[in-house]
């Protein structure tokens, strides 16, 4: 009887929470509907798609060489080198020799049919598990470093921004406190815990968005990603794109010109970003700063590749 009463109480609370969520969502939509009239004319969905496609073709499409099926070991290595060079030019991240060798080996085996491609869902799982494992092992100094790196960049010094588009604006102190709480909670959390479900849902949305963008822009390389899966190099490109929040648009020269001009204009408006690395993304990125160094270290990349390795072995399913 008591149990039933408790259950009824929980139901009412759930209903109230759902109602609160709906009210908040409604409020946000209502607020967003009022727009200033002097903003530039909006682009049509077709124009946005064209810009995105052209940009990704000019950036990722031109600057990364993807090896073809039955590629030689050298072709797989060259593909990894072109990807590492591309990432370095945009974010300053330097992949270790060991990481590149492992990736080249996995790529070569995949392109020669010795292992499966990784499905998008499996990649989501691998990235979520690796991310949670890394978050659980973060030291206090690393959390401080993440907060410093995610600095908002404008006049509002005491805040962090979790995504380049402006999502996740929060006080630096609140970020640090939450990160420490989550870190401590992860090791005890079950597979269906709220933290893990939330993390999976966020990673899935980001990974699927990028796969869709790259499939539209580069059908020759990513066209069958949703049905046949990704090669390890393609998967690494997606992971970098999500982690750095870089849409991989524009050649390095074009991107550098954009950054220089943006910095000049933002400085003129009193919104200069400091410090700046001179690269668009990654730690102190001029366009958007992320603690990319915490996730591209040899250990974390090794964990990610272990998971890709497990999930792509022939007969692993």
């Amino acid at each position: 009887m008591n149990h039933l009463k408790k259950l009824r109480g929980q139901r009412s609370l759930t209903a109230m929470l759902v109602l609160a969520c709906l009210c908040l969502t409604g409020l946000v939509i209502w607020r967003a509907s009022a727009r200033p009239e002097d903003e530039p004319k909006p682009l049509s969905p077709g124009q946005m798609k064209t810009i995105l496609r052209s940009g990704v073709r000019e950036g990722l499409g031109r600057e990364v060489t993807f090896a073809k099926p039955n590629a030689s070991a050298k072709e797989a290595r060259d593909s990894v080198e072109s990807m590492a060079d591309f990432i370095h030019a945009r974010s300053g991240v330097e992949l270790s020799v060991k990481t590149k060798e492992r990736l080249a080996h996995l790529e070569h085996e995949t392109l020669n049919g010795k292992r499966e491609r990784i499905s998008v869902d499996s990649l989501v799982d691998a990235v979520t598990e690796t991310g949670l494992e890394r978050a659980a092992s973060m030291t206090d100094q690393e959390i401080e470093h993440a907060a410093d790196t995610l600095h908002e960049g404008g006049s509002n010094g005491g805040h962090v921004l979790l995504r380049a588009s402006g999502k996740g604006f929060m006080k630096r102190d609140a970020f640090i406190e939450n990160a420490k709480n989550i870190r401590n909670e992860i090791p005890q959390s079950r597979a269906d815990s709220a933290v893990r479900l939330m993390a999976t849902s966020v990673v899935a949305a980001e990974v699927k968005d990028r796969v869709q963008v790259f499939s539209d822009a580069l059908p020759e390389q990513f066209g069958d990603a949703s049905t046949k899966g990704l090669t390890p190099v393609q998967a690494s490109v997606v992971v970098y794109s999500v982690a750095s929040d870089d849409l991989l648009m524009g050649s390095r020269e074009n991107l550098q010109r954009q950054i220089n001009r943006e910095n000049k204009e933002l400085k003129g408006a009193g919104k200069a970003k400091v410090p700046r690395s001179g690269k668009a993304y990654g730690v102190d990125g001029d366009r958007y700063s992320t603690p990319l160094d915490l996730v591209t270290d040899e250990r974390t990349m090794g964990s990610l590749f272990d998971r890709i390795d497990e999930r792509t072995r022939r007969g692993a399913k």
Binding site: L17, C21, L24, A32, S54, G166, F169, S193, N254, K271
Partner: protein, 216 residues
């Protein structure tokens, strides 16, 4: 049987509760956002102007792949409409066709961008390589909404396989041109001529300047 159904229902309710509490906890520490999907240029940085002294003011944000910005709601007005988003910098411009095939050249090239203003005169399109002038195609059409400019295919005589910059400029009210942005042009299927035979005894006799070989 009944017990396991009740247990699974309780587990589901607990999960919902957990997610709800987590949502509220995050909503408590993350400032509510203005999720504005108003056809912003994907991947472009926008300069955000908040009401003066607003505690939630963010300097800039990058439009996502859906053309949306998600900046924090201003605390002074609570109204997303009081934040102005303007394109910072040039915004990427792109060329079509890309790559440009020398063996099957298109009759026109189109540069896509925005704010390509033709109010005071037609825009100018110049092709350069490493800062040096290569060609100036004639502008044949500009879109009414300023999102593209079309030009005749340039003189291809000296455009070998490689990457070129396409500079797009607009005319101001005084008749002077100012640079709007750049697109990248990739030319394929036109390898440069081979170098002349080396002169005996000279280790580095010839130099290619992108157009011709010069031998000393």
């Amino acid at each position: 049987m009944k017990t396991s159904q009740t247990q699974s229902r309780t587990a589901r309710i607990n999960l919902l509760l957990g997610l709800g509490v987590l949502f509220l906890a995050i909503a408590g520490c993350i400032t509510p956002t203005c999720d504005v999907c108003r056809g912003y240029r994907p991947g472009a940085t926008y300069n955000l102007t908040y009401p003066p002294g607003d505690a939630n003011a963010v300097g800039s944000a990058v439009a996502d792949s859906q053309g949306c910005l998600h900046y924090p709601r201003p605390d002074s007005t609570g109204n997303c409409g009081s934040v102005k988003a303007t394109l910072a910098g040039l915004g990427f411009f792109f060329l079509s066709p890309s790559p440009f095939d020398f063996q099957a050249p298109a009759s026109t090239i189109t540069v896509m961008g925005d704010s390509i203003d033709a109010t005071y005169g037609p825009p100018k399109v110049v092709i350069m390589q490493s800062g040096a002038f290569v060609a100036q195609p004639t502008v044949t059409a500009v879109s009414g909404d300023g999102t593209w400019v079309q030009a005749s295919t340039p003189d291809l005589t000296y455009m070998y396989t490689g990457t070129y910059d396409v500079e797009v400029s607009a005319m101001d009210e005084y008749g002077s041109y100012y640079v709007l942005s750049y697109a990248t042009m990739e030319v394929v299927n036109n390898d440069p001529p081979p170098p002349p035979d080396p002169v005996e005894g000279d280790p580095d006799p010839c130099r290619f300047d992108g157009r011709d070989w010069y031998c000393y």
